[in-house]
Amino acid sequence: MLALYVRLLRAGFDRHASYGAASVAGMFTNIVFGLLRVGVLLAVLSGSGMVAGYDAAATVSYVWLGQGLLAVVLLWSDGELAERVRTGDIALDLARPWNLQAAIAATDLGRAGHAMLFRFIPPVAFGALLFPFRWPHAPLTWLAFVGSALLAVVVCGQIKFLLDLTAFWLLDSRGVRALWAATSGVLCGLVVPLAYFPDWARRVLAGTPFPAVIQTPIDVFTERGNPAVLLGVQLAWALLLVAAGRAVLARATRRVVVQGG
């Protein structure tokens, strides 16, 4: 059984290895948006040199790490699962002798692995070469970062999984996914550091899994806070969301069976 999931992991990796031109195009977009965001945020800094604990180097690192992580966690779902639910093809997936949730997660991790090498490194390298960059001071941070990124992929994957599952009840889940697409950037800390938000907003966000997707891995890398705590929170959300996904899928499956697929 484990071999199957390892196989899926590799498949996820290989599938994206062939998208040469698209990856380059994606990188270009990352760099353009990164440059624009850096401009705006550095302008915020221009007066005082430090805002909410971010100096120039930390701000720059925040932006480029965010752009890099964007492709790794793949913030926006392509809706493939939701489409399969809508057309009924999902019945084929459910009929297979595997754990659908695990299968999707394995494939996603494979893809994330490929993205880590080819979509994360370029924008970060670009940023680090052209701007003042804040590198980790402690060697253990690198390890913590890899763990954090992994957990972020899982958390984001489960959020997307749950969103796609709404298709079982909503038939047209486009609206839900459009809502996520519009708001996720800000909520996950891709656009503006969450530390910039007013206190009440930050408290609310702390009760959601969203920061765990982008802001937390960045915090681990830039050593803002205790890595054990940061990773612990991510792990808790990951476990919670996996359990939720499992429960929802079970209910959805029952619904399919009852309706006759």
Binding site: G39, V40, V51, T183, V191, F197, P198
Partner: protein, 263 residues
């Protein structure tokens, strides 16, 4: 002319046939625009000026740029579908009709929900106009009305020119995104926030600065903090004309390329 109207009419009717669904789509678009507004508000929670401009002034730029982008998205947003048209060979059908290809693509559909962005822009504009230090005059009023329209033409030209890249490398469509949605981002802020080299790029190569920044300087009666000539503040219409010309050339070359490369 009548043909395009009829093509669009059937599409538009189709969208309005499901008012609830349409309403939600409109809301989603509005939400997208509002999120950017939230970002600006958050930033001004931490500082008082951005790039030398106060909150109301930045919001004025944001509002006008948002309306311009929404209008451009409404008219030429269809071009995002270009890779699909090329891949399925449906583009050939367009070549077989006695009409310009671009006009056909653009009128193949018109997603009214994109007006959601325009609505948000208008709302913010309404609020800001009561608070910003505007030097009111007939010229100012003219500028307020014309800026989003002229800006839409500039952004639309950028859209056409960059989507044309799909004729050369179909998978490189995302490159167009960098310019089109990048336009949305870069036009919403005063160009002074960006580094000097980026500022020059956004003024002379991809003329994002003329969509809202320069016209707003004129509306506020301010001179360019970067020291550029005051006349540039009124140059947006000229820039729009030049953008259309350049986009037209690129598009024609792109269609010729499609006929040359085959499928």
């Amino acid at each position: 002319m009548a043909v395009y109207r009829r093509l669009l009419a059937s599409r538009v009717r189709g969208q309005l046939a499901y008012p609830l669904s349409f309403g939600l789509d409109l809301l989603a678009q509005a939400l997208g625009q509002t999120i950017e507004l939230v970002v600006i508000v958050v930033l001004f929670g931490r500082v008082h000026t951005l790039g030398g401009f106060g909150a109301d002034e930045v919001l004025l730029i944001f509002a006008l740029a948002g309306i311009a982008f929404g209008l451009a998205d409404l008219v030429v947003g269809q071009l995002d579908e270009l890779p699909r048209w090329i891949r399925t060979g449906e583009l050939d059908v367009l070549l077989l009709r006695p009409l310009p290809v671009l006009a056909q693509l653009v009128t193949a559909d018109m997603q009214l929900r994109r007006l959601g962005r325009v609505l948000v822009g208008l709302l913010v504009l309404g609020v800001v106009l009561t608070r910003a230090p505007i030097a009111w005059s007939p010229v100012t009023v003219l500028l307020l009305i014309s800026t989003p329209l002229v800006g839409a033409v500039i952004i639309g030209s950028i859209w056409v020119a960059t989507c044309a890249v799909a004729f050369w490398v179909v998978e490189a469509r995302e490159v167009a995104n960098a310019f089109t949605y990048g336009s949305s981002l870069s036009t919403a802020y005063p160009v002074t926030v960006f580094a000097p080299w980026l500022r020059r790029l956004l003024t002379f190569v991809v003329p994002a600065a003329f969509v809202a920044y320069y016209p707003v300087l004129a509306i506020l009666g301010r001179s360019d903090p970067l020291g550029r000539p005051d006349a540039m503040r009124y140059a947006a219409p000229l820039v729009a004309v030049a953008s259309v010309a350049v986009a037209g050339l690129i598009w024609r070359a792109a269609v010729r390329r499609y006929q040359g490369a085959g499928s």
